[in-house]
């Protein structure tokens, strides 16, 4: 564990590109990791239980907590009446008269919205007391879906808005009118993506401790960033940022994006601690997670492609309607805006028009879920491309290749401002064909079809953006306002890393990331070890954030696939700086020039005179214990460096609504073969393969594990995952017993291949990776199902497309089970 390596000679990059075993796994797999609920709490901590509205839409007439307060051990029962005395609304990215609090004020707008918080000495007491609270409501008409929300005379979720449409905008690039006039054919598709989530094992949790003496609120929470939201919370709690300390533990039990939405609860529990003066702990239950945390948007999309005679994509038009639940909370309207600059994916389409409409309903509010908004986009876009191929009689992969951005075009700027770094999409497709054994798969399909089986193939491709340039949200602000001198544009998305060598030679890397299983400790250790010539085990990596003690920025956190590009770059740059510091110190001590110094196997020596050398341990010791020595006098000899890495293309949005929303752009191509059970509609995945361009992986093993998970989530999303509510807005599937999540037992094994093209924007060429299968996976699977159901001319227009939907829409039109086949099991 010291800079003095015990092992053989190491040179730079020894561990880069190696599937090094994960350093965090021993702790994680032996129950020794500490998650939020495992942390010790401040003395005097009280426990919060949240009471939630049973109505999706109702006026709150009276809350009677008299009996509850009398229960011994209860400290307080808090409602909006009390909490609004210490809290302002949470700022929204959208300009809107809506006031969003983490607790219902006069009205409940979704079933599950917090209406009161019971705070007691133990959780059990709080739950006992909670059952003594009575609330009187006046139920109001419920708007549970987009169609109803937009219907004439529909009741408004927010009367102040005067409509359920909270934002509407058309973005236009190039000359769309002309493109559609030139078109030989116009092909269109409609797709509905139902609300869904990718729930983590560990639920949300917050411990808040307000200290009256210092006026500092400290919160321990499993929040994943971006820390822009910590700013939003501080603002709502009327705290300056130097008085709001957020501590995120190094271990988070899964997130898939959901844990960004911990932030309203950071505000709620923080307000409870400020109001009561005691530390307050809240751990969400599983059912609460389903009704009260977050979800992905429900989307209706209509896409149209203008095609030239030879199948060129001349223009793309999209009409998007997103249902974002009861409140348009930040970072909405990100489901759409995050993708505007790369809406055309890997295709060269010069003319683009996107009309977006954001609708509130009496359902759970939304936020980013793994691959924020991209499954919503990739599924209809790839379905459209597939349909174009059918209509033009072109091979679906060939049509894609014909319209790809070509290797010579990079860096490539899209019609809407995205700056793609690198890629060779055609080569990736060739690789995909090879690992999928496309010829073999096609022969197999034909063979099975001859046996009367319903089998099909589907392909989908996409770009995999990494990092989130905050500038994209400025597209939500009217241009007139952005023109004003007082307007401050947003941009950037940096990552920081601090590297320190302790006086005894131990190396510590401090990241500003909040990993949830992504293996940052291992990857960072591999990088530092490679640069400083030690073993990965010799580098102690600290993750998680403490805003009082870690170098962080408002972009900090782990979301938007950002570690692969920015995180790695920050760590790597810090390691290079550290090596430079060591080399410079050595050059002074040895009296040779710095470029003459080589570092190998824990020893620094002069290239020209090999006998001039110093062990790095002694070097570090000298810097710490003897900086006054003649050789070192006058220099900066701290062995601590912090590097913040930002990609320069992440500029502000322009007035013509061009913006580059991400730093690097990987590529993914997916092929899937499925079989539909003719009798039941159940789908089995016969084969699934993806090729990723990650720019090159520091740890390909970790990348593969993450992609296995993503592909399996993709299958669940395509086939059955949706949040179901009745027409009164009551959520129906709110446990793991009815919202099905694949476990290790149910995983299928995808085939993966790599088609890396280094990014010119990051020092090691790496890009973000692992959300790709969440985009192309559902698309390829649904297209494959369409293909399997070709006899029925199937149009798969809903996500998920469940077995029952397949049966009721298509198979039931046939006679029952021609084959009472002998397959022994059907589940």
């Amino acid at each position: 564990m010291t800079i003095q390596s015990s092992q053989e000679k190491r040179t730079e990059q020894t561990y880069v590109g190696v599937a090094y075993p994960r350093l965090e796994d021993l702790r994680l797999t032996t129950g020794k990791a500490k998650f939020l609920d495992d942390l010790s709490v401040p003395p005097g901590t009280h426990y919060a239980v949240i009471l939630r509205s049973p109505y999706a839409h109702a006026k709150i007439k009276r809350i009677d907590a008299e009996d509850a307060i009398k229960v011994p051990g209860v400290r307080a029962v808090l409602t909006a009446v009390e909490l609004l005395s210490v809290m302002d609304p949470l700022p929204l990215a959208l300009r809107s008269p809506i006031r969003y609090y983490p607790i219902a004020t006069d009205r409940a707008r979704y079933a599950g919205e917090p209406v009161a918080v019971v705070i007691a000495r133990t959780r059990a007491i709080a739950e006992d007391a909670a059952s003594k609270v009575n609330v009187d409501y006046e139920p109001l008409e419920v708007v549970a879906d987009i169609e109803k929300a937009l219907a004439q005379g529909a009741p408004n979720v927010h009367e102040a808005v005067g409509s359920n449409t909270v934002w509407k905008k058309t973005f236009s690039y190039g000359d769309v009118g002309n493109a559609f006039e030139q078109a030989v054919k116009v092909v269109s598709v409609d797709v509905r993506v139902n609300g869904y989530t990718v729930p983590p094992m560990e639920t949300f949790g917050v411990v808040a401790e307000y200290d009256r003496g210092s006026d500092v609120l400290t919160e321990w929470c499993n929040f994943i960033g971006p820390f822009t939201m910590a700013y939003v919370v501080a603002k709502a709690l009327r705290l300056s940022q130097d008085r709001f300390r957020v501590i995120v533990p190094g271990d988070i039990g899964g997130s898939f994006g959901t844990k960004l939405a911990v932030y309203p609860y950071m505000a709620l529990i923080g307000a409870c601690s400020i109001f009561t003066g005691v530390p307050v702990k809240w751990i969400e239950t599983r059912m609460e997670h389903f009704v009260g945390s977050t979800r992905a948007a429900t989307r209706l999309s209509h896409l149209e492609m203008a095609l030239s005679a030879d199948g060129e994509f001349l223009g793309l038009k999209a009409r998007i309607t997103d249902d974002i639940g009861a409140y348009p909370r930040s970072p909405e309207p990100g489901h759409l805006l995050k993708s505007v600059s790369n809406f055309t994916g890997p295709y060269k389409i010069a003319n683009l028009e996107i009309s977006g409409e954001y609708v509130t309903t009496n359902t759970l509010p939304t936020s980013p879920i793994r691959a924020f908004g991209r499954p919503h986009l990739c599924i209809p876009l790839e379905k459209l491309v597939d349909k174009c191929a059918k209509i033009t009689g072109t091979d679906p992969l060939e049509l894609r290749k014909r319209n790809f951005i070509q290797p010579r075009d990079f860096p490539y700027t899209t019609a809407s401002g995205g700056v793609y770094d690198s890629g060779d999409y055609g080569a990736a497709i060739e690789k995909l064909k090879q690992i999928f054994d496309l010829d073999g798969a096609r022969a197999d399909i034909l063979e099975k079809r001859r046996e009367g089986r319903l089998v099909g193939l589907g392909f989908a491709v996409g770009i995999e953006p990494s990092v989130s340039n905050m500038a994209y949200l400025d597209l939500a602000i009217p241009e007139e306002e952005r023109q004003k001198a007082t307007f401050m544009p947003h941009s950037g998305g940096q990552h920081s890393a601090t590297l320190k060598i302790e006086p005894d030679g131990h190396i510590v890397a401090r990241l500003d990331s909040c990993p949830q299983g992504q293996g940052h400790e291992t990857v960072a250790a591999q990088l530092v070890a490679s640069v400083l010539g030690v073993n990965p085990e010799d580098v102690r990596v600290l993750t998680g954030v403490d805003t009082f003690n870690v170098s962080w920025s408002i972009s900090s956190g782990t979301y938007a696939s950002r570690f692969g590009s920015l995180g790695i770059s920050a760590v790597y740059s810090a390691a290079l700086d550290m090596r430079k510091k060591l080399t410079e110190a050595a050059s002074k001590l040895l009296g040779v020039s710095a470029d003459d110094i080589v570092m190998e196997n824990g020893v620094l020596f002069s290239k020209s005179r090999r006998d001039l050398k110093i062990s790095s341990k002694r070097l570090v010791g000298t810097v710490y214990w003897n900086p006054g020595s003649d050789a070192l006098k006058g220099g900066d000899h701290t062995l601590s460096v912090t590097r913040t890495f930002n990609v320069e293309t992440l500029g502000p949005a322009t007035l013509d609504n061009k913006v580059n929303a991400s730093a690097t752009y990987g590529f993914i191509g997916t092929a899937a073969a499925v079989e539909v059970d003719r009798d039941t509609g159940s789908v089995s995945i016969l084969k699934y393969a993806s090729v990723h361009d990650s720019g090159g992986s520091v740890n390909p093993g970790i990348v593969e594990q993450l992609c296995v998970g993503a592909a399996n989530q993709a299958a669940s999303h395509a086939l059955h995952q949706e949040l179901i509510h009745d027409d009164r807005g009551q959520p129906l599937n709110i446990t793991f017993g009815d919202y099905y999540v694949r476990t290790a037992e149910d995983f299928f094994t995808p085939i993966f291949g790599s088609a890396a093209k280094k990014s010119p924007f990051t020092p090691l060429g790496t890009k973000g990776v692992s959300e790709g299968d969440n985009m192309t996976g559902p698309a390829a699977l649904l297209i494959a199902i369409q293909d399997a159901l070709y006899e029925y001319n199937a149009d798969i227009d809903t996500v998920p497309f469940t077995a029952e939907r397949i049966w009721s829409r298509f198979l039931s039109k046939n006679n029952l089970g021609e084959s009472a086949s002998s397959r022994s099991d059907v589940a």
Binding site: V49, L51, R52, S53, P54, A111, G112, V115, A116, R123, A124, E127, D128, A130, S131, K132, V133, N134, V135, D136, Y137, I283, T285, R286, M287, E288, V291, D679, T680, H720, I724, D726, L732, N733, G737, D738, Y740, R742, T743, E745, D746, T802, A803, E804, W807, S808, S812, L816, G817, A820, S821, S822, R823, S824, D825, V826, A827
Partner: protein, 301 residues
């Protein structure tokens, strides 16, 4: 329960806990303690308590009574103790030899952790309409030995289940064992098959089918098919026997008989599956499981 709020709890209400060391002691506790309830594996009861849907004042734990989970042979039949776990049942050689369908049903309960703790006695007493055992035990014509401090009786599976989460058990009664009998005339071959239809393998079923057939000279001698999960309680479908007994065990005969099934209007319809779909799946599963049972009986599988 609160009025006007939804509360998602994690902790059970306050309760007392008593560990019984014998069936007699358990019965006595049940007879003399107000609000007492049996706990076996806790896989259903603890869930209900943590959600505060059940609030027993006292739990009487029968999970530590020695020998209550034993499997013993009786003639060609078997006795299965109430606290026999799903895992033990799934892996039992004795059960596999005589009533393989029961191993199949046990192996398809939830996940490994649930199977390691949950018991057959708890499962049938809980009477979840989607439970695996109810149709199987009904099809096998099983009997349940039930005891209380003052009484002892035997209840046929077909009379035991009353509806969702309700059985004929009294509050002071305990299921002690499941009794299975078998009598086969010479020349008769028997085949079993259990099939569960669910979105993911570990989830509760939307349709369960248990088929037991006896075959002699290539013809159906006996056909017992019980359906579960799509009805409030397990149901034997006698019309299948009527149309198949005496007929050749061909796929075509099976298909025709399954297609004719009339399931009535009691079919459960919810967000997991509509009544229409469940009815359709039931017919498909009946055909498939009968064919599997036939193949197993004739050694084709």
């Amino acid at each position: 329960m609160p009025r006007g709020v939804t509360l998602y709890t994690l902790t059970p209400p306050k309760f007392d806990y008593k560990r019984a060391s014998s069936v007699e002691e358990a019965c006595k506790l049940l007879a003399t303690t107000d609000g007492a309830k049996v706990i076996a594996g806790g896989q259903s009861l603890l869930v209900a308590m943590r959600l505060r849907l059940a609030s027993p004042a006292v739990l009487v734990d029968i999970g530590h009574i020695s020998d209550l989970g034993n499997i013993s042979e009786e003639g060609m039949g078997l006795n299965i103790g109430a606290t026999c776990t799903h895992s033990k049942l799934a892996r039992s050689k004795e059960v596999m030899e005589r009533f393989p369908i029961l191993c199949e049903a046990a192996a398809r309960v939830g996940d490994e952790q649930v199977r390691n703790r949950g018991t057959i006695g708890g499962s049938i007493s809980h009477a979840d309409p989607a439970g695996n055992y109810a149709p199987v035990l009904t099809a096998l014509n099983a009997k349940f030995a039930v005891v209380s401090a003052s009484n002892r009786r035997t209840i046929a599976a077909s009379n035991f289940f009353e509806g969702p989460y309700t059985t004929v058990l009294n509050g002071d009664e305990l299921v002690e064992k499941v009794v299975l009998e078998k009598k086969l005339s010479s020349g008769t071959k028997e085949g079993h098959s259990f099939m569960k239809f669910s979105t993911m393998p570990q989830e509760f079923a939307t349709v369960n089918v248990a088929s037991v057939v006896a075959i002699k000279d290539g013809k159906f001698e006996e056909v017992t098919v019980a359906l579960g999960a799509l009805l409030p309680k397990p149901r034997i479908m006698p019309e299948l026997g009527e149309s198949l007994i005496g007929k050749a065990t061909t796929a075509e005969n099976i298909r025709q008989a399954s297609q004719k099934l009339q399931l009535g209007s009691e079919i459960i319809s919810d967000y997991k599956a509509s009544a229409q779909y469940r009815t359709h799946i039931a017919k498909v599963l009946v055909a498939r499981s009968l064919l599997t049972a036939v193949n197993r009986a004739t050694g084709a599988e």
